[in-house]
């Protein structure tokens, strides 16, 4: 086992991060159901070990591209949940000044180059960012998060091929939660799966249990080190489960109740909690971390509800420098 596995402080940090992501998602979900958040909302409840386990191994100057289900990725990369919540609420203080919302959160200051509303949309961007970093002789790397639904879109093939050709520092992470919207991903994915697809494109790839934070952390550490060392792209296939529906308004009632129950029993937070308890962490301390996380996110929600909306003029800013229309004046 790696240092990570032995380092209680590290594990506690992982636990805290997962608790914060869970709390963020639960809070956002509740707020959306209460009508406080506009637009579509995709939460990652049950998948927290992926975001926390991967991003815990990244430096702040490493870059990340994410997808429509990216809150956890952003928080784990170091984004501020307060400003994320403000963005979800469409408020002026949000990361995108209220112009992006849940599916377009970015925090360039921590290397988070953006969620994406288009499945597989982040893949070409990630390889290009890595190519740029390589030209700059940086040793920063790029992590590219996508779902199991994304492996049937063309950019998956193109991007992996590209990363191998130019030996780019990219860590591809296929977050396999078993579903793509309302369809089981395996029913629309032919052949032996993502690992074979990656290998056929020359990308080193392994599968891991994504509900086991330690396993994710370990695998990520190994892969990140290899990628940073210049060994070319790697792919991690991380198997997990989407506990809730596709969007906040989807009950996902078509799934057998037992399946969801069984997945709940493999809850990544509870599992890491059990490991920590075994290593002597008091249950009360675990509980406190969870309470703190909930309090943090509740405060973020409260702040967001009270926060100012963007000024109307913001709608006309940051379109482009040349040729942007001062609309109210000219029209």
């Amino acid at each position: 086992m790696s240092d990570a596995g032995d380092n209680l402080r590290r594990l506690t940090g992982l636990y805290r991060m997962m608790a914060r992501i869970r709390a963020f998602e639960e809070t956002a979900l509740a707020a959306h159901k209460a009508g406080e958040i506009p637009g579509p909302l995709h939460v990652s409840i049950g998948q927290e070990a992926v975001a926390a386990g991967i991003c815990g191994n990244l430096r702040i100057d490493d870059r990340l591209t994410s997808n429509h289900r990216g809150h956890g990725h952003a928080i784990a990369k170091g984004a501020d949940p307060r400003r994320m919540m403000l963005e979800l609420f469409g408020r002026a203080g949000g990361y995108c000044r209220g112009k992006g919302g849940s599916m377009h959160i970015a925090d360039f200051s921590v290397g988070m180059l953006g969620a994406n509303g288009v499945v597989a949309g982040g893949i070409p961007i990630a390889v290009g960012a890595a190519q740029g970093l390589k030209m700059q002789q940086s040793d920063a790397i790029v992590t590219c998060m996508f779902g199991d639904g994304a492996v049937n879109r063309g950019p998956f093939l193109e991007g992996l091929n590209w990363a191998v050709l130019y030996k780019l520092p990219v860590l591809f992470v296929c977050e396999d939660n078993g579903v793509a919207a309302f369809t089981r991903a395996d029913t629309v994915t032919a052949g032996p799966g993502v690992i074979d697809r990656a290998k056929a494109l020359g990308v080193a790839a392994i599968s891991i249990d994504g509900n086991n934070a330690l396993a994710v952390d370990d695998a990520a550490q190994v892969a990140v080190t290899a990628v940073r060392r210049g060994e070319g792209p790697h792919l991690l296939h991380v198997r997990t489960y989407r506990i809730t529906g596709h969007t906040s308004t989807d009950a996902a009632a078509w799934r057998p109740a037992e399946e969801v129950e069984e997945a709940r029993a493999r809850d990544p937070i509870a599992r890491l909690g059990a490991v920590l308890a075994e290593r002597g962490v008091e249950p009360s301390e675990l509980g406190r971390m969870i309470d703190d996380a909930r309090a943090e996110m509740a405060a973020a929600r409260g702040e967001a509800n009270a926060a100012a909306w963007p000024e109307p003029a913001v709608a006309f800013e940051d379109v482009q420098d040349t040729g942007a229309v001062a609309w109210s004046k000219s029209h």
Partner: protein, 324 residues
């Protein structure tokens, strides 16, 4: 006649055609589960998994496979889920579907319907709100359908499925749960025939898709002030009912085109340019557009509202036109 939502009207239209024509099939993500909008609810049970095909997230191939099937005589309804994803399938749409018949000297019959729910809807932000219907009016080889009512959605969709030409069907997301009457069976509505919503001599207002109810409300408000306008819902922007618009403008001398899409190089420009060409400037007092600024669609409600039309904006634009 039966009162249904627009999305249900569209469901019944496809259902009706699939019952009578075994060449019609549906492909797209999640369609076997009823589709993202419920527009294929219960289709799987009735038609089976060969004709109701839930696909991988492979837009390019959804589009291209639809075409391929048409080349062997099928009549696919290609479901794109949300318009913006068509950007992942543009080669198949623009370079293949729109051109095969012409390039091959008439051998190919690309009888496809591409359904593309478009427009602003509940703060979906920049990648899920686009209205680029004007692009396809500029693209030879395709028909561009932009309905605004349940009856029109149903009748035009029946016409689309029966058409040998490729039809780009812009489902108006924002109007999916608006209700209205449809006839059963659903009769096809020919392409290129505008619907006169209100009649009047003060000005001609031309519109389509989600802008129609906004303009209709505006016409009602104007009527209470004694200002009566000819309000025309084009229903299809290619072909479009030039004759009806030109006749109306010849009568009123004033034209306002109202659309939800960006004004710059939007289809409103074509309407204005064509009217100026055909009516001349002598009898034309003013021709203007009311549409969105050249800005991506922002997320926050107060920002999105900046881009949206409103009855008040239309009323003001008409009054400005009358003052010209």
């Amino acid at each position: 006649m039966v009162e249904v939502t627009l999305i249900e009207a569209s469901r019944r239209a496809v259902l009706q055609e699939m019952r009578v024509d075994s060449r019609v099939w549906v492909l797209g993500e999640d369609v076997a589960r009823g589709g993202l909008w419920g527009q294929y609810q219960d289709f799987l049970a009735e038609f089976g998994e060969q004709r109701v095909v839930s696909t991988p997230i492979s837009e390019a191939t959804i589009m291209g496979a639809g075409l391929g099937s048409a080349l062997v005589g099928m009549r696919p309804v290609i479901e794109m889920r949300i318009f913006d994803f068509v950007m992942c399938a543009m080669d198949e749409l623009v370079n293949q579907i729109a051109k095969v018949r012409y390039m091959f000297g008439g051998q190919a019959k690309p009888a496809v319907v591409v359904r593309m729910p478009h427009g602003m809807w509940r703060n979906s932000a920049a990648q899920h709100s686009q209205m680029l219907e004007a692009w396809f009016a500029h693209l030879p080889g395709v028909i561009v359908v932009t309905p605004a009512t349940p009856a029109d959605a149903a009748g035009l969709l029946v016409q689309a499925i029966r058409s040998d030409d490729p039809v780009l069907f812009f489902d108006p997301k924002d109007l999916f749960w608006v209700t209205g009457e449809i006839a059963e069976p659903i009769e096809p509505i020919p392409f290129g025939v505008a619907r006169k919503v209100t009649a009047g001599d003060a000005a001609t207002v031309v519109t389509w898709s989600a802008a129609v109810p906004v303009a209709t409300k505006a016409a009602e408000l104007l009527a209470t002030e004694g200002i009566k306008v000819d309000l025309l819902d084009l229903r299809t922007i290619w072909p479009w009912d030039q004759a009806a618009v030109i006749a109306s403008v010849k009568k009123t001398g004033r034209l306002l085109v109202v659309h939800e899409a960006v004004e710059v190089a939007g289809f409103g420009a074509e309407v204005v340019a064509r009217v100026v060409d055909q009516v001349g400037t002598t009898n034309l007092k003013a021709a203007r557009r009311l549409a969105a600024p050249r800005v991506p669609v922002p997320f926050a409600p107060p920002l999105e509202a900046q881009l949206r039309l409103s009855p008040e904006k239309v009323v003001n634009a008409v009054k400005g036109l009358l003052a010209a």
